[in-house]
Chain length 384, copies 2
Amino acid sequence: MPPLLSVFNQNLVPMDSRRNFLQKITLGSGLASLAPTLLSATPAADARQKPARKLRVAIMGLGSYGNRVAKAMKDCKSAELVGIVTGSPEKIPVWQKEYGIPDKNVYNYETVGQMKNNPDIDVVYIITPNSLHHTHTLQVAAAGKHVICEKPMADTAANARKMMAACEKAGVKLLIGYRLHFEPYTRKVIGMIQAGEMGKLNYIDNYQGFKIGDPTQWRLKKSLAGGGALMDVGVYCLNAARYLANEEPIWVTAQETKTDPVKFAEVDETIQFQLGFPSGLVASCATTYNFNFERLYAHGTKGFAEMSPAYGYGPLKGRTHKGPLDEPIVTHQTVQMDGMADIILNNKTLNPPVDGQEGLNDMIVLDAIYKSIRDGGRKVILNE
Amino acid sequence: MPPLLSVFNQNLVPMDSRRNFLQKITLGSGLASLAPTLLSATPAADARQKPARKLRVAIMGLGSYGNRVAKAMKDCKSAELVGIVTGSPEKIPVWQKEYGIPDKNVYNYETVGQMKNNPDIDVVYIITPNSLHHTHTLQVAAAGKHVICEKPMADTAANARKMMAACEKAGVKLLIGYRLHFEPYTRKVIGMIQAGEMGKLNYIDNYQGFKIGDPTQWRLKKSLAGGGALMDVGVYCLNAARYLANEEPIWVTAQETKTDPVKFAEVDETIQFQLGFPSGLVASCATTYNFNFERLYAHGTKGFAEMSPAYGYGPLKGRTHKGPLDEPIVTHQTVQMDGMADIILNNKTLNPPVDGQEGLNDMIVLDAIYKSIRDGGRKVILNE
């Protein structure tokens, strides 16, 4: 088994020199408390070396996915869980005990602004319902902390833009929780495509869905989820279509099907959507809350890649025209958080990126998908 | 390897009794010359027994697919090639020699009406460019011969309806060349679905395309082909969606992409289309003349079926949730023509059918696909 980080590191390239990064954060506003946090190192550290310490993360939203991220971070080399933000007081002692979180790093949604005065937290990972990502990002940015926001970035592209503006203004980084951008099978496929091994891509065929359980959960409430299956899991198919294509779509069409108008009174159940790209590449995608299915497929003039499962927490499985994929099996959130630590602490960048623009690009298409559905399937032209 | 016919015969059920069939053709018009042909048997034959002789077939259109069918018929048990209709005089001696065709069974497009006076031909298999199917079917029906018409049935649903009316009026059968309805892998999958082994179907994902060669061929001329990839190979995906679904679609959407407006000046290059069915089942399909791809996929609550290749001349390959498909490898056109002989001579029917209504049902959707494209992807509601 090859070393885990080799797969990831080959795609991490330094974007700015450390010097530029220093200039950038010096020029940023509201960073008085952040700069020492970000740049502190042991007193003896050479200024040209990487900061030796770990990225110090607070998780906002202690639901099932927050739990998963927290557990995965136990194995991180470059990131550590140091704080929590929660509206559920009963969860506080449980998390404090499990993760050794000190009282001073415990916040609720009213006190999160006070994090500004806490130099021991670098970044807040927002894992709250989709429609709250916007408000919570603004809160965290106002507290001068970097933001990792779970996908989908927001409920609308307009809110995504406000999130980017707020982080820009606060001089903090904004990352979106695209864990698959760090996942070895996915990176292998992306790497093969970018190296030209598939030739010119012609067709992408992605779908993911699952049969949703508890009818009272927030995912079925429009005010919290922003949408249904499309927002929650369809975004994987969309994001994958974009990172496989390596270009941005120029048109979108979409169709909705609802078999259970009671359970899915507020949000979408099953959506098919299609994307057209400048090269002539087209993508057919589908997503649902009504049954389990999952596939990533990229077809090129010289080869193909297929993964199924392709989007879950793993192990993933797949093959290309060269044979079965055989990549390291990792805990996705562990490699994600180590990678994000490198991006935040060392100013690395990733291709495809996990920044706010990447999130916004998905949100623009999600908006267009809903628009096409409202327009009876009519083609929505995307202007960038 | 199980006997070839077992796969096929289990799906052939007698529709009418022989008595009803006799009544039907007695009531038909213009059948004076047909009845003895159809019903002749050895003098000693019991009237309740099947006619012992083979179906006597003339092929109209001696292009590459006509050749393929003719060769395949050499192995037929119930059908034989006895005549030809061609506009290429130079092909006549070649075919006469190869297939032992007597002069009296050789026709051209001007003389085909004289076939009325030839009791030695039962049926004409029309394998001419798509846009000519309509005219040729009317000619053959007027000559009192049964018709097998290659898919797509016609260039429009309106012409398909005229073909049905003409055959109905002439009292002849009209079959469409849906060879896969007779093909063991396909029949196995259909059988499993109809037996409930996949549970309730939720999603169908079919695509087929190939990179078309010679830019001067009739398939690229609208006046002959009626359309492009959709008419030629997209119809496989559509027809498969319908026979997998076992219900008729209630809406259609479609999108077209053209990367080579010169080569594809007259016909469609790449089309994606989506179907919605009454049960909530949806299908995503795609077809192209610009690259090679091929898949049939049916996803149900209890299992799935996948074939790739799924639509070509074989050998096909596939798997279900139970494991790899392992069906008899046959020459598709051989089993098709034996099966069609049974339908025509013994009045059997097949489920899914290969009759004019089956062809028309595809044509209605093809019309709707082109309409949706003209309407920018808008949903076309199908009223049946």
